[in-house]
Subunit: 347 residues, 2 copies
Amino acid sequence: MFACVGFAAASATAPLARTTLQRRDPGPTDVRIDILYCGVCHSDLHTARDEWGGTVYPCIPGHEIVGRVVEAGAEVRGFKPGDIVGVGCLVDSCRACSACAEGLEQYCENGFVGTYNSPDTHTGGVTYGGYTKAIVVDQAFVLKIRATDNLAAVAPLLCAGITTYSPLRHWRVGRGSKVGVVGLGGLGHMGLKLAHAMGAEVTLFTTSANKADDARRLGAAHVVVTRDPDAMTRASGGFDFILDTVAADHDVNPLLNLLKRDGTMVQVGAPEKPLAVAPFSLIFKRRNFAGSLIGGLPETQEMLDFCAEHGITADIELIRMEQINDAYARMLKSDVKYRFVIDMASL
Amino acid sequence: MFACVGFAAASATAPLARTTLQRRDPGPTDVRIDILYCGVCHSDLHTARDEWGGTVYPCIPGHEIVGRVVEAGAEVRGFKPGDIVGVGCLVDSCRACSACAEGLEQYCENGFVGTYNSPDTHTGGVTYGGYTKAIVVDQAFVLKIRATDNLAAVAPLLCAGITTYSPLRHWRVGRGSKVGVVGLGGLGHMGLKLAHAMGAEVTLFTTSANKADDARRLGAAHVVVTRDPDAMTRASGGFDFILDTVAADHDVNPLLNLLKRDGTMVQVGAPEKPLAVAPFSLIFKRRNFAGSLIGGLPETQEMLDFCAEHGITADIELIRMEQINDAYARMLKSDVKYRFVIDMASL
């Protein structure tokens, strides 16, 4: 074991504060990574504050990790010291079930091991995430980063990027697709960039008219303010696919009505309360309402390569580690364009 | 025009009673049909009592029609006097939009013409359904009935049959599929028969343990009582496709949790109130919640041919026309196995 510093929540109500944690020494298939940047995801805040239940303290969040390999176990292939790599939401899975066999580790039938707050089979405790100086991860869950600059802005691709990329690919968005993205936050702004890069004609649906210019810069061809009933009526029935990134409670039926026959709306934001779905919203055009969870390792690598090829990164605000509690407060007010990323050199 | 007798509701609160209505004389592409049998669908009751709004009185329901051709217009091809034919939920559509071009007239972009309570372009009034002695329908919306006996039990195929057949086909149910059917009523009993005939392993989900024997006779390999939490847990994640036929308010989340990854649950019952869908029910296994509406003309013909080939009809209780108000009262208590059909000879 080796000691490394990080920032942890000691309880659901405590602010995050500096701590020292123990990491395992790398085994034969492990990669030890010095963390350069870690994105700040809404899930970090939910977990730190035990808002989904089940948080074990101390809790060290962070699953949008970019770092440099400093050590690779004897059996590691494809990674060597000095390589720039990424770690996302998963650090292990059963590797035996049908989902794992298909490279869909996020749907592991036996439960994947999350990057933080999951049972850690190596230590017997829970996993600790990326708000730390270093992490040790099995090579099968480490991703190659081909981007060479702006690495801080690559970090959010590991969760916000793949969470939006995976459903866009699964439901075959491409040239000619009419795509709606609902909500312009960390997920939504990646949805705009990715769907646009895939060739779709993208419309942002937002409650805030003042986001229109930004949305167009990020790839939206059109912006519809959802509080404008005439605009919503004009848009109805016009979309092949809608990516709903809104995590707050909201009425999904006007959004479902935007879909063409056989269209699909996918929820990637995760409102805590159930959403009220009017059956007629689905029945009259054989519409689909679906969910999607991050992405598996092969698809995450594909997404990183796609982003490198298309020059796509997140729009970020770089913060120092000790600003994390302020960052959480600002996230709750949606006061970030569009993702906080922690500069680990500040720790 | 010609006069024919039927049963109509004069208002939302009036019992159905004998009336005389006017039908158009058949035009060049029309078929005049003497109605032999008409099934009694829950939609009939909803419309007669204006429970969905928009009912024009007098209202003559009925869209599960089997009859005999007595006259065919000069341009009619494929139907001649004496033929046994069917008419379902649709009697016309725009025939120009992309849905109609694909034979999906039920999703006509310009609004299909329902068999009853739709604007009737021929008369300027509304359409009148099958609770009558005769009907005149354009040949494009008339179906061939190949079954030779038990024609009364063929009638419910025109709505209950196609409403369940269409989603089973669209979501590719077949040999090897694990299918759940929720609810054992008019739709559910057809769902069991059809999914079984398609080669699926079918499980009935019901609130009533006493329906188990009947379910097995109708094609279910297994029966799960939804009020038994242990049985529901054992069944979770085991289904490729679920057909939810329940029209009453109910919790769909335990049903969604029965789906495998990438599985689909389709709502064909149409609860009036929105259904509360927990996003996590969809997100964790990329599940789909969809709707489906009856079927188009080509698929309805395919379904009738499939049923003729497999000897499938509905389980019915034959009633006389004057028993319709009692039948409605019994339907509200689910006191029918599993569809009332009116013997039009009784009128």
